[in-house]
Amino acid sequence: MPSTPPTAGAGTGQAQRTHIEPMPRVRRGWRVFLFYSSAVLLTGLVSMLFADLLWRTGWSLAGVVLLCLFMVLFLVIAVGCMHGVYGFMARLSGDRRLTGLKEYRGQNIKGVSTALVFPVHNEEVARVCEGLRATYESLEKTGRLGNFDFYILSDSTEADKWVEEEQRWFDLVRDLDALGRIYYRRRVTNEGKKCGNIRDFLSTWGARYRYFVVFDADSVMKGETVVELVKLMEAHPHVGLVQTVPALVNARTLFGRMEQFANRLYGPIFITGLNFWAQAFGNYWGHNAIIRTEAFMQHCDLPQLPGRKPFGGQILSHDFVEAALLLRADWEVWLAYDLEGSWEEAPPTMIEAARRDRRWCQGNLQHFMVVWAKGLRGLSRLHLAQGILSYLAGPLWLFFLLTFNWMLWSESRTGLSRITVRPWTPFLRVSGTEHAFLIFVICMAVLFLPKVLALADLALDRERRRAFGGLTNATVSAIAETAFSALHAPLQMLWHSKYVAESLFLAGVSWGPQTRTAEGTSWLEGARAHWGHTVIGLVWGSAIWRLDHPTFWWFMPVMAGMVVSIPLSVLTSRTSLGEQTRRAGLFLSPEETAPPRELAALRARMAAEAADGQLTPRGADCGLADVVLDPYVNAMHVTLLREKGQNPAFARALSDLGVGRPEVRALCEKLLAEGPERLGRQEKLLILSDAEQLPWLHRQAWLRPSATLARWWQGQIREYAR
């Protein structure tokens, strides 16, 4: 189905308007066949070995279940292993990649306009603005700033965040002299969440830009990288989306630094492996990617899924599906994994990482609905299926272990001794225990081979070796990170199992805010998050010990992670430990040993703001107080509201919200007389959305006798007295 050729000059008034035809459907099957056949072959052979082990002790239904689970789980790790193996080989031999297809660096991008969009939702505003500033200044240095506009696209639902965003946006624009270059827009409602936010941007301004680059709240990109992405898109008119591979940076906690180290050390071979089979049928990860506006607008407005939550309704993890829809319309989607200068931050603690997984889990499970959709490319189905499996693997592993325990219990209940017959494979002259150990060793080898290959890859590259603090440091770090992963994996298994169950039976379960001390997760928060894991580890471990002592030692690594989960979570959240390991040369990443200019500037500014107390949380309703009392904040907020009202869609949304109704004046009176604590969240947002009432509120708050105002206002006005 060839789509309508985009008028590439999406980006009105642009000099060059070329007709772009999406690529014709092509077959690139051999790479996929080779790659996945390797994984299937390995899985088949090892599954035979496992089946043989089960056969030696006698077949049972539980054994069949165990074998099926083993096959699925082993296939998952075999695919992971193949990513490492093929990636390693491709890095040695040179792989077919987008940046190598044709010379693109000389591409003329004069007159090509690109929007850099930062969708935010109640984020840390200072960090968002400083990240944007780093990218802006870096782009300025390329001399191409004129081709780019920046948008902070707010979906924030907290009044204080909204006001802070406006203030910081204005400060940023004034500092950079970027009025008319950096824009700010907040939606009236956050319908459709992030993809609704992007869609709203595209509906309002998308036609002005040929491309747009999506950032996350904590993304930073090097100016040269952004320019290269635009050149890549210009040079490859069949490409609808190019996804960069963001490197994790700026971690300070021990957990964050280990994740960052793993991402930087193992990432390259895995991503090269992914690119080996995906080629032009790559994926989109939601940010740090450039997108052809017209193609996206034509094909990626996501439909609502039929049925109720958790599977029906709005598509939560939109990125995979958007890539699939672009591919369905014959656009290419590439991973530009070799472009440096694309960064993001990782959750600093195990609990934060689990919280993020909670959101992603529901979104990925929902893809079960999409994976069957007609017209999707086979490779899109593979991407979607892998996403689903990455979360289903947790409960499947748990089910595998429980089934094994069930078999053990059944055997012990019979009171009969276990009789092990000779293996089916005649060349295997091993005992039952040795047979099990052999399978265990193979599983471990498959799990750890990519890590070994990543170290070998590092050993072959002098510059990278230096960037990781030397091969010895990197090896020691990799061993320590692997030990941590072994303890962390059982917790992820329990978390993912819980999330899958919640997603299936209790749609919309969410976490409360985390209590973090300046040092990291507090012991109380750690205990609250992990007491269940600890209890499960202790009870399960004791049960296995009672059943069969030798089996207990097999289960020891799994139980250990659960039993030590509280100290593990708390200690790895410590920034002091992160700093100590950094000083010891452990878990170093290239961005730590030689920080790029952009990241160094970002860190310096954030540190300066922290030292000035600008990052210290203010009291509740501080934003509301600012809008009502501060003459400038009030004027700016009202001006932005009035400008927003020019857009018919916004005007309609404001009207739907209740703006302009007489009830709002009554709410304002209540706000003055009784203070903000007597108003609900929606009521405060309604007042803050009314451009007519806010100037009135400002005057009244200052003109009325103090005695007629709520005590809260009197305190707020006193703060201006200094």
Binding site: T12, L61, Y151, W169, F170, R174, L179, G180, Y183, Y184, R185, R199, L202, S203, T204, W205, G206, A207, R208, D301, P303, Q304, P306, G307, G312, L325, F368, M369, V370, W372, A373, K374, G375, W406, S410, L629, P631, Y632, N634, A635, M636, V638, T639, L640, E643, K644, P648, A649, P695, W696, H698, R699, W702, L703, P705, S706, I717, R718, Y720, A721
Partner: protein, 191 residues
């Protein structure tokens, strides 16, 4: 001798206790602080000017507090000045005030033009241009377009979703599942 001077009896200013004027001073000063007027000399002058106007009304409006009179005069003074600088037609006080405050912010009054604030004209050309021509744009001109969701045929899933809407299907499915569980349990415990 004006009315203010006449009523300056010991312990009083314009017929009111000094403490009341102190409160008025504090409120007016707070507002100028909010406008980032940091220069103490200028700030003192401005507050005194506002209070003088308030004192002139003091005799005529004894039922109103000095603070009320002072903040009203401050509001009036600021708006009159905005109207002159911006050459704005007489409009609603709130509309003018918003525009004026935005202009002050964009012209960087607190940083560059504190001495011009509330001063009678003529003002420096650069200041006037900055005040009159500065405007805040949070976004470029709208270029509205419409994104329409393309239908996505979910194949067998769509059929399943339709089935699940049939009455009693879920109930029947849960009974079948329960039955299967019982069979499984029986099988596993009778090997």
């Amino acid at each position: 001798m004006n009315a203010t001077a006449r009523n300056n009896t010991p312990g009083k200013l314009a017929g009111r206790p000094l403490e009341e004027w102190n409160g008025a001073y504090s409120k007016v000063e707070s507002y100028f602080h909010a406008l980032r007027m940091n220069n103490r000399v200028l700030l003192g002058q401005l507050v005194a000017r506002v209070l003088e106007r308030a004192m002139e009304r003091s005799d005529a409006e004894p039922q109103r507090s000095a603070t009320e009179l002072a903040v009203e005069e401050m509001d009036r003074l600021v708006n009159e000045w905005f109207a002159q600088v911006l050459q704005a037609p007489p409009a609603g006080a709130e509309m003018l005030s918003t525009r004026g405050r935005m202009a002050l912010l964009l012209a960087d009054m607190p940083g560059r033009w504190q001495d011009q604030f509330l001063r009678p004209g003529p003002w420096p050309e650069e200041f006037v241009v900055a005040m009159r021509e500065g405007y805040l744009r949070a976004g470029p001109d709208f270029q509205l377009a419409k994104m329409t969701p393309r239908p996505l045929d979910l194949g067998p899933i769509a059929t399943l979703t339709r089935w699940s809407r049939l009455p009693y299907v879920k109930m029947a499915a849960s009974w079948v599942l329960f039955g299967a569980l019982l069979v499984l349990l029986f099988y596993l415990t009778h090997q």
